[in-house]
Symmetry: C2
Subunit: 415 residues, 2 copies
């Protein structure tokens, strides 16, 4: 007998028929003799509907919405889904009850709209699990120190599930979603993409933050910190022994590491180059402080070596939707910082190869650069970490580059 936490996302509980399918997954695990707790998101579309309602009320004072009221409103989506799933499980003869964040409680920080889970009371849940009851817990929700409903930010239900699994010391946290696992790359681009049987926390973390939308970054961090085994699998298929989902686990549990486990890409990038910035101490610090103050997240940064010892070019990337704001912010201080011109390019993409195996395999970067060179793709910027190499290229080459690299690193499935 194992203790499992099963998490179902919004598309998995989008209507009563799908909720029944979810309930059958829960029943299968319960019938197998496992202790099961469930975490659910709001029905697909529901959170957007509630956000739109909240935004429609704030006609006169844009952007000043009370996050505490926002949380009280949008969190109701999860309460509904948890109640419906509990009813459905009962209808199948399983003892189940819903638990809202405040009832457990799942205590969070005071930051409404982006709260962090601080503590989950488990005594009551433990008692119910021991009796064979199935707790159906609302994802996304918590109780703030002000005794009001908090939410964890979009996608927070994955984090709720991992936190519940950690608090209950579950043997595994199964994240049911609309894909059947983590792939070597986006199967919409590379038909030969393979599902990974296992992937290390660190790799998953890089993949998540680089645009692979299977798991929320924070949930993977939390799983890694608490060593919660995560399994990603599809709520639309019956999982079978031959074809399970992907297990996200400690690297020690992965027998053989390939050099590269996956290839991620992000097209949500824009490149900014400040031409002939004064090359003196403190300038870079000032530029990036200004952008941070405007809540603009800067990703890759490349500073050319100064040719004349007086000025240099500085290039960095921002999310595409932040480009206009970044330009305004920097134009406003052009005189203070001292640069000749600002060149912006919204047509770039970031391409990353990821693999724990990189640590022990040589020539991974060289193979990347050679492959792109052979296809005539210019590399505009490079950044690396211990288990990842990212490059910036022109957006139009994205598919070509992903496919070529997928082949280079031997990731293509046998066709």
């Amino acid at each position: 007998m194992a203790r499992l936490v099963l998490k179902f996302g919004g598309t998995s509980v989008a209507d009563p028929e799908r909720i029944r399918r979810v309930a059958r997954h829960v029943k299968r695990e319960a019938d197998a003799g496992h202790q099961v707790a469930v975490v659910v998101s709001a029905m697909a579309g529901e959170t957007n509907r509630l956000v739109a309602l909240a935004e429609a009320t704030a006609l006169e004072h844009e952007g000043l919405m009370d996050a505490r009221e926002y949380d009280a409103i949008v969190a109701t989506g999860e309460s509904v889904a948890a109640g419906l799933l509990a009813l459905t499980l009962q209808d199948m003869g399983l003892p189940a009850r819903s638990w809202q964040g405040w009832q457990i409680p799942i205590r969070t920080s005071e930051v409404h709209g982006a709260a962090r889970i601080l503590d989950i009371a488990t005594a009551e849940l433990e008692a119910r699990l021991a009796q064979g009851q199935i707790p159906v817990v609302t994802g996304f929700q918590g109780l703030g120190p002000d005794q009001r409903v908090t939410t964890l930010g979009r996608g927070g239900s994955d984090t709720s599930a991992v936190a519940v699994a950690a608090a209950l010391r579950a043997d595994r946290c199964d994240i049911y979603t609309d894909v059947d696992g983590v792939y070597t790359t986006d199967p919409r681009i590379v038909r030969a993409a393979r599902k990974l049987e296992r992937v290390a926390y660190e790799e998953m973390l890089e993949m998540a933050s680089l645009g692979a939308k299977v798991l929320q970054t924070r949930s993977v961090e939390l799983a890694m910190a608490h060593r919660v085994k995560l399994q990603v699998l599809s709520s639309f298929a019956e999982p079978d022994a031959e074809n399970p989902g992907t297990l996200v686990c400690d690297e020690d549990e992965i027998v053989e590491h390939q050099a590269v486990s996956g290839i991620a890409y992000s097209r949500n990038e824009a490149k900014v180059t400040l031409v002939r910035v004064k090359d003196k101490p403190g300038v870079a610090g000032r530029i990036f402080s200004l952008l941070a103050d405007s809540h603009i997240n800067v990703d890759m940064i490349v500073q050319a070596v100064s040719a004349d010892g007086v000025s240099t070019d500085m290039t960095f990337t921002v999310a595409r939707e932040n480009l206009a704001k970044a330009r305004d912010t920097l134009n406003a201080v052009r005189g203070v910082i001292g640069y000749e011109s600002l060149v912006a390019d919204p047509g770039v993409a970031k391409l990353s190869v990821i693999g724990i195996g990189m640590r022990s395999h040589e020539g991974v970067a060289a193979a990347m650069f050679r492959t792109l060179g052979e296809k005539g793709i210019n590399i505009q910027a490079i950044s690396t970490s211990e288990i990842k190499i990212s490059v910036l290229i022109a957006d139009e080459y994205t598919e070509l580059a992903v496919r070529a690299l997928h082949t280079t690193y031997g990731l293509d499935a046998d066709s």
Copy 2:
């Protein structure tokens, strides 16, 4: 400065535009220097949507839905409405916050789906009111002894408002709805119907239970018990001094009582006659116990005087939707009870004239019977209370009868 509780129903908060209109009513009272608390229902249609979702989950075991989960689901409608109104009030510059039932808490009995309010904690609300904050309280919701969300049953938000007003010792509870007051009768039938300036609790209670849908019966009972002054007014019109709503109050506060204050009718009636029932002790008790066991509410009962000393005819009314069930229940025990035949008539209506003044005015019943007789309308049954006379007539005469009685009792507005 007065302390007011304002209650807004589902049609009043049906969309963001209407919520703004509601907020303007609140602002007007706050600007006038009053302490204001608000109670809201779910947006129109929302509770039905949630009930339908809950019912869609219980495909296999009809009628066995866990009322605790049902409550957790349907109560979310009020949480959303309260949050939206609080945001809108804030947007207009008013300090407001939403309060869900569990946050106050509004403690109720354990009967999920039809809970009764037991106690409302007021210390926190009092403190906020004293600071000028406007609490926006979810109607319909409470917290059960099991620490789970309860609901008061359909229309329960009126009851919530009165209970909050009683707990806060408010000077008045204003019920904003889609009509601008209580009328002498249904204005859709009688164009000359007049809005009543004041109506006594007892009269309102009779009107509510006789089909006038302005206020929920239980809320009027509660207002009467706690002597909470209720004002019924429209959320769609600006109230003005010339044309306020209707005040529901103690009869002592009504200077002059007319014999009849209003005329109510209900077309949701069916008549059942058991022909030649054995006329011996205990038979009536057995019949009505059987119907009660089947959850069939019986209203008017008429037993003819036995002509032969052996058997008699017994007539009673049930709600039209219960007619088939009543017939089945009685057919099943025909041999035991002993009656010759069962005659059912779904085509009847109940007509009631109501007035505190009846106690001191004579001839009210005589005037009613005479008026109906003059119009050729046969009276099939009669029941009376101290302040009400009800008769059963053929449904097709309803409009004619209501109009004639309205004129007889001098209720027609000057045209």
